[in-house]
Structure formats: C-alpha cells, structure tokens
Point group: C2
Chain length 376, copies 2
Amino acid sequence: MDQSSGRALRPTRKVMPEEARRHNRALVLQTLYTTTGLSRADLARETGLTRVTVSDLIAELIVDGLVVEAGLSKRAGPGKPATALEFDANAFQIIGIDLSGHSLLRGALMTLDGRVVSRLDVPLRGRTGEDAMALVDEIVDELRLAATQPLLGVGIGSPGIVDLAGVVLTAPNLGWTDRPLEAEVARRSGLPVVVANDANVAALAEHSFGGASSDMMLLKIGRGVGAGLVVAGTAVYGGAFAAGEIGHVVVGDDGSECVCGKSGCLETRLAAPRLDAALAGASSPAEHDAILREAGRWVGIALAPIVGALNLSEVVLSGPVQLLDGPLVESLIDTLRARTMAQFHGSVKVRMTSLGDDIVLRGAAAMVLSRELGVS
Amino acid sequence: MDQSSGRALRPTRKVMPEEARRHNRALVLQTLYTTTGLSRADLARETGLTRVTVSDLIAELIVDGLVVEAGLSKRAGPGKPATALEFDANAFQIIGIDLSGHSLLRGALMTLDGRVVSRLDVPLRGRTGEDAMALVDEIVDELRLAATQPLLGVGIGSPGIVDLAGVVLTAPNLGWTDRPLEAEVARRSGLPVVVANDANVAALAEHSFGGASSDMMLLKIGRGVGAGLVVAGTAVYGGAFAAGEIGHVVVGDDGSECVCGKSGCLETRLAAPRLDAALAGASSPAEHDAILREAGRWVGIALAPIVGALNLSEVVLSGPVQLLDGPLVESLIDTLRARTMAQFHGSVKVRMTSLGDDIVLRGAAAMVLSRELGVS
C-alpha cells in the first residue's frame, strides 16, 4: 500500500496516464454492464482498446470484484473458446434514500443493478431541521449494518432546491436552508455520497432503468409537484438549480388560492393532498372523473409550451397510480394534442413510470453508480 | 502540396496527433480572439501548452493569416518586451444569409468578428421551391464577387425545421420539404456551408455577441413566432429538431382561428402581421396600448411554464422594435412575475436584443467561425 501515493510519479506498469486509465476502465465496465458474457477479445473489438489494455484493466476489475469470469464465451469464432466475463452486480451494495415522502423517509440497500436487498422506512412525524437530519443518519447507520457486501456509496433524493455540490439550498417541508447534506453525510459515514433533487433523481432513474428517451420530462406528483428534465440525454439543472420547479407556475386564472400566496398554481389542482380532498367531496363517479380530468387538463395546459419549446419525445408521470393512471392521464394527452402542433408533437409519448414507488431509490443508486464507476 | 495527403501517416514535425493539434490550434486562436495583444509566453501561460507548441501553432496561424504580430506586448514583466499577437478579423470573410424575412432574403459579407462589409437584399416576391433556391444561389454568387479576402464559409439561417446536417425538413413559407440546403449550397459554391433554424441562429448570435447568459430563450417575432433555446450553454434542438416551435402552442381558450386549423395559438396574437392588423383597427392610443399589452400577456402565459421548467435566467426578444419594446415587453414582464415563483424566477431578465435586424446574419457568421476555426 505504501507505494500507492507515488504511483503517478513512478509508474511500474506500462505507461498509461491516470485519467486515460480511469476513462478506459469505465468504458470496459460500461460495455460489460450493457452486454454480458463478452470475452476479452470481444471487449477489445467493442471498445477499440488494445487486447493488452483490456486484459490489464480486466485483471484489475477482477481483483476489485466488479468483474467475474463465468465459463466459456457463447460467441462463435475461430480458435478455442474464450472466457466469458460478467459485471458482478452483487460485488458492492448501494444505500439509496428518498426524502420526498409526505410522511415517510424511505431507505433501501440495493445491488449495483438496483435490486432492493433490504428496506428501512422511517416515519417523519413532522420532524424538521436537525431532527429530520438525525433520521437520515439513522437510515444510513441501520442500512449499513444490514449490508452484506462492501458499500459503493450513498445516493439521496431530496425535495427542494439542491445545487451541484449536494447543498440543499431550500427544502421547506424538512425545514432546511443551505444545508450541505452531501458533505454532512459523507463526513459522518466516511462513504462517498451524492445528493440531488428528488424529481431530477427520478428522471435519471427513468432514463437509466425505465427506457425513457433522450428528451423527456418526469413529472413527480406527491405532496407537491415537481419535474425532472432530460434534454439531449443530459439532466437540466437551471441557472439557479431550480429547473423543474413548476408546481407554482400559474395555470388557471380561475384557480383557488395556493400556500405560496398566488392563485391558480398547478399544485392547487394536482398535488396529491389537494386531489384527495377534492375527490372526497365528489358525490358521484362522474364527478370523481370530472375532477381527475380537470386536473389532467391543467397539466396539459402547463406542459404544452414546455413540450413545444423543447420538442420533448416523452412525458412520464410518477405518483399515486389511482389518481394519475386513468381519466387524469387521458385528459392530459387530449389537452397536449389540442394545444400543440400535431406535425411536431403528435407523437409525444405520455405514460406512467414503470419503476413504481422505488423510482427515487433506483435513481439514487444510478447516481452513485455513475459517479463512482462511470457506469450508467 | 503532394505531401499533405500522407501527413497523418508520416509525420515530419514533432509528434502531435492531428486531433490534439486541431484542438490546441483552436484553443490558441480562441484565447487570442478573446484577449488581444498577448505574447507567445502569455499564451503558453493561459493555455497550459508548452512554449514550443505555442510557437509552432502561432507560426502556422501567421502563415494562414489568422494571426498577426502587432508591435511589442504591453504586459509588464522581466526581460526584454515580447511581441504582441492579434487575431486578424480581416484575414477572411464570411457570407451570412437570413432567409426568415417576410418579403426579403438578406445577405451580408462579414469580417470574422461579424462586421458587415457589404450587403445584398433580394426581394422574395412570393417565390418558393426552386425559384427561392435560385435566390439563395444568387446571393452567394454576388457576395462572393464582392469579397476582398478569401472566404471562410457560408452560414444560413432558414425558417422551418432544420436537422443537424442542414437539411430543411419543412419550411412552408419557402415551399421546401426535405431540402438538403447545406449540401446543395456547398456543392454549388465549393465553400464550407452551415445551415440552421433562424431562431436557433439568432439565439447563438445573442449568446456569442449579445452577452446573453447560459440559460436563455431568444423569442423571434416576425411573420411567425419561433424561439431558440440555450440550456447550460448548449443549443437545444429537440427530439425531432423542432425545439423552439412555440408559435402554434395554444395559449388562450378565447383566441381567434389560426392558419394551422387550431384556435388561440400564440401566433394569432403575436406574429407581426397579426399585430399590425390589430393595431390598424385601434381607434385610440389607449386601445393601441391595450392590444400590445394583451399580446405581451399571451407571451407571458406561454413562457411562464418554460421559464419555470428550465429555470431560465434571461428572455431576449427579437423583432419589430416599435411593436415589442414598450407596452408589450412591460406586460410580458408583469405576467411572468405574476405566474412564476418570485423566489426562483423573480430575477429573470427580459429585454430586447442589442443586435437589431442583423441578429440572424451575425449568428450565421458565428456558426461558420465555430465550425471552421473552433472559435466562439
């Protein structure tokens, strides 16, 4: 170990600058992550790296446990069969935390491909500030004890505005202002940590695991309403890290009063508590449907200019299925069709997420995987 | 000359891979483009390249005419004064063409910093298809004759949907469908050519020359209404190259009929001909102002969700100043304020472009400069 600090100065291996090495290692790992069972020769062909470089990197990845040899390659070719390699999704585990819940903070211990091994949900009970922070620490500590493999890191999706250093600039529900959440959890746990806004994390999950297109919006509906945007395959953060904060965009001039002081904000019709309350007052199935259709119409009015301006290919909804998946999404589709140009936007796909309630946890794992291993 | 084709295989200079060389050459040129009067030593310090590499690249750039020696460097330092270097904006000229006009196709011969040397405006007189194409060729040929320096290339801003290869997928005003404009002009002129949507070109001009921020929308109002978006410093094209096509997004449920078949499209209130017609019917200054304020309100309603979703820092308007700069832009600002959250979007800047009617021509020059020299 004592030679490691001098490695950059006195290379003992064949010369390869450290940055190029990291890049090539991530490239080999990404290739195996996407396509399993490749041989070293296959990898050299697919990556354009030399066989020597591939063998060298694979040796290192095998020592780290990230790659395993798994019998003979199934690919036909001349000569003797080669050894098949596999990315080992069980080599490390990831802790994912979803702080966006109304009443629960949710944690999960996951494999590298996002399979949940263990869960821990902690009731929030209105706790804010340091008390809420203590719950985050509790989740990290408990899931750490449950881990059966070394931990790759911790990913956290937080409500509110989060900057690129993982500082929660403002999260009213948790009573946090300028809280360096990423740095705090990293210091206390000693683990690599990455923190981002919950809707952005959900968009990343949909993009990584949900098969979403490269120009998409993830609309997340819960206690509030937020969105995560991916444009040309890249997450959008905005000039002041507030991209996707569309809950308080005014949609209707006839709307009811909002907690923010304005009237007619998208949240007044769409946030889950407001929708539940409105539905509780419905006196017939027809009135029930009309309330959901009207909410869907509001989303469509708000989304039409965004779909038009960005030429989005896909809008994915995440939130309570019983509220969203039915008259609401149908009305949203009708409204988008009516308010955008069919020639450009007629093919925009609108659907529920296939990742269910774990969408933020899955996205949190994807963030850690991407930052620590360069794999996505 | 006969050795050039083999240069990549049998290098005669000190080894520097061709791609790295191109990158370093653009870096040196970009640095001189931004800061004039640097010495070779200054350039080495600012770019991180070795003095030998800088001297080598500068020698090449001087031969090409892009850099000139201009007396002694003003920068103080030990030793004898060094030679100051300057980017020579007059070394080459660029042809820019703006096809977005209602009645005129506009061309200009420009220096490398976008100063107009010569102009040629050709009346469109309703011509479409091959006849419109002949006008483009005419502008290229005439401006080429007017050139007093070698030409770097041709940049064209076209209305309609333009893909990344410069194919105009659809431009109804010019009667063009799937026209490979970039390839056609390149073939006929033998010059490097780059074609993009006019509003995207205008957004690039504002970003390059107008001091616009990295998260901005350029709203271009003329015969129609279109937008160009820059997100995190990068132009947005959209899943089907139709980003920014917001003219036919429905804004008002009470709107008048649009040419597209829908009602209440943004264009029905905002396109210059519609605004002019409405204003012609105004019977008092107060009514005149009310028409402009109502148009501004419509823009604000359409833009609020976009500003919110992207957390834009700036919205820049381009079009007839007498229509836009006054009650219209004031009402737009009021509406944006009223319909977005002050905490995130209160600081969004809304202003007229400072580039006037030449905005597309300037952007066209910027595209050529960026593609041919890697300078922006």
